[in-house]
Symmetry: C2
Subunit: 184 residues, 2 copies
């Protein structure tokens, strides 16, 4: 499942380094995108390049790991939005929460565009399931156009994300999307 043999017990300093590298990669990737080089990541983590490769056999694996964590965090956020009783409010919290996250992690765009190429299925399946739950509720309340599917919503959110990455005001993007989803 994971990046390395999960059974192997790492030495204390090695585990520390692994965390440092992941943290550095997360910071750098989310800030600048997945096309930064490995050396700056190693430097930021305070280790040599060799150590990065000892923990993450390829750059792609590192990117995937950062992407996976990010999607996981988003799923958690979505889950908590789903706790909200009022469907309209749940949708609003979901969308504005996502828009804020996008505005914060500008680099995630390039991370995900690389990540997507590898394995989207895993965490995204959960996310689509969450979207379905959300949509079923708001649709039942007549708050969104009835033809909207979970993949549609996901795609539109990606679009919103891109607009935000380009510098458009996140709040505006969220509002436009929310209004746009309303039934005809």
């Amino acid at each position: 499942m994971g990046t390395m043999e999960t059974g192997r017990q790492l030495r204390a300093d090695a585990r520390r380094n692994r965390e440092r590298i992941l943290a550095a990669a997360r910071a750098v990737f989310l800030e600048e995108g997945a096309d930064v080089q490995m050396e700056p990541i190693a430097r930021r983590a305070g280790v040599g390049i060799g150590t990065v490769y000892r923990n993450f056999p390829t750059k792609q694996v590192l990117i995937d790991e950062v992407g996976r964590q990010w999607v996981e965090e988003r799923c958690t956020a979505t889950a908590s939005a789903l706790q909200i009783e009022d469907p309209a409010e749940a949708l609003r919290v979901f969308v504005t929460g996502a828009s804020a996250a996008m505005a914060r992690d500008v680099g995630i765009r390039k991370v995900l565009s690389h990540y997507e190429e590898v394995d989207t299925a895993e965490a995204d399946a959960l996310h689509l399931l969450q979207l379905k739950t959300l949509l079923d509720r708001v649709r039942a309340a007549g708050l969104v156009r009835p033809d909207l599917t979970p993949p549609d919503l996901f795609g539109l959110m990606c679009g919103m994300a891109f607009a935000i990455f380009r510098g458009t005001e996140p709040a505006l993007c969220a509002e436009v999307l929310l209004r746009g989803l309303r039934p005809t």
Copy 2:
């Protein structure tokens, strides 16, 4: 200004090749994005790599040229949408036209993301001007939220484009955007 000394008169076969190369690059880039290699472009144009470089000193120049032409064509389309009297219809034609263009030229995303890095100003200035004209009209008619600026609209269109590139139904994207722009 342009790619080569504009004054120089090319030999007939050279001019033909130049056109072939540009056409091949346009086709390949708009279809697969700007990260395709030079060799396939040369092959498709029926010339050697050296000939490509004789006409376009670097890959970047070729990308820029394709991007510039594309933006130019979009400006033309926008201009004709602006001819429409009814503001609502003009806006609709503008947005749906753009969405169709995005769906057709999936690769333009990567072309423009490279292109942007070099000189956006040129043709985009015109485009923003057109957007301003369009917005002034629809805003006066009370058709869109009053706080919407030309750059906002441009950003939102880019977002719509991204959703389309990802595979979301272009018509749906256009409708959602149009509805989302309506005043509060």
